[in-house]
Amino acid sequence: MKYLDCFRFLAQRRTDQLVVTSAGNSGQAWWAATADTEASFYLDASMSLSTMFASGLAIALPQMRVWTFMGDGAFCMNPGALMVERDLDLPNLTHFLISNRRYGATGNAGLPNQQRNDYAAIARGMGLTRVFGFDNLAALESGFDTAVLTNAQCYTFVVLEVEPFTDAEQKLPHPPFEGPEIKLRFGRHIERVTKRNIFGYEFKGHHPA
């Protein structure tokens, strides 16, 4: 399926989930689909750490649902993270593996073993039980609620097979924020929604004296 069509669908179905994006294309696509400046953390070029970041968030906020995107390029760099995710088995975390068989953020360079990698089988081999895969939009639309919106009692792993970005899509804008602004916008959103104190002092809408 088309990468952007897939992300537009995910954006339509999202309600209150916190979102953590992976390097490059997923950040661009999520920004194109949502322009979200509050409840999404655009974790740029972390080279495989988006799902671990999301896991820490999900541990800290068990009352919140967390979605995280990881490209299969990032997954190739750190597949063992899935073992940690399985151990944690966080029911409020959904890991979307965005499989375009490319290092999308670096000009669609090919992945090792790209045609043979079976990500769902790898996940099952690590003991994951809620594993889903969608390779076309119609299937995603019909299966999404069962896979993602059910109140599952365990962690969920979803493989989304998408086409690599076109040359034109590679030029989609990245979220126009520097790191500290992303941190503060996201953290303030969490503070508002959860009433947790993230930054160690209360924001009262004015600069402290």
């Binding site: 953590v20 953390f41 974790l43 740029d44 070029a45 972390s46 080279m47 495989s48 750490l49 988006s50 799902t51 671990m52 970041f53 999301a54 896991s55 820490g56 968030l57 999900a58 541990i59 800290a60 906020l61 750190n78 063992g80 993270a81 073992m83 940690v84 151990d87 944690l88 790191g179 500290p180 992303i182 941190k183 996201f186 953290g187 969490i190 959860t194 947790r196 104190n197 993230i198 160690g200």
Partner: protein
């Protein structure tokens, strides 16, 4: 209680006293008693991770959720981290607290840690990481002070535990 167990207990108490609730760890012989203790301690959520970068990601996410954490690992593991630290901790100004072993320092009999002997301190300096060395039992309270300093200034910091302290 032998010395290693007592030191481990005191460090765990320091973690708890400053609000650390999540511990991401990778093994090192010098800190394995501490890791074992934390794994049994109900004050902590202990997450044994697959590699050191995963600890960076996990602790960074925990910070954004308002949970105190520490990434606990050996020196060699820390040496794999400059990209993850500079990319996540520095770019986004997300403070993560690292506790490592000071492998390769004077007193370490393991010749295979020559790379740490030559470069660990230089790498820590090169990335401008605040570093506190804890060498004696009476210095253990510096662990929680270094953590609080990290949170106060929104910068990552590191405590390095010596062989004389741990063995």
């Amino acid at each position: 209680m032998n010395k290693r167990t007592e030191i481990a207990r005191r460090i765990a108490d320091e973690f708890a006293s400053c609000g650390i609730r999540l511990v991401a760890s990778l093994p090192d012989n010098w800190i394995n008693p501490l890791i074992d203790l934390i794994g049994r301690d109900k004050r902590f959520t202990h997450v044994p991770v697959n590699r050191e970068e995963s600890a960076v990601g996990l602790c960074s996410g925990a910070f954004m959720g308002g949970t105190g954490s520490v990434a606990l690992m050996g020196a060699s593991g820390f040496m794999t981290l400059p990209y993850a630290i500079t990319k996540i901790n520095y770019t986004y100004e997300i403070p993560v607290f690292y506790v490592i072993t000071l492998r390769g320092a004077v007193g370490d009999p393991n010749r295979h840690h020559v790379s740490n002997a030559l470069y660990l301190r230089r790498v820590i300096d090169a990335i401008d990481m605040s570093c506190t060395i804890v060498d004696k039992p009476e210095e253990i309270p510096m662990v929680s002070r270094a953590y609080r300093h990290s949170r106060n200034f929104y910068r990552s910091s590191l405590v390095a535990l010596t062989r004389d302290l741990l063995r």
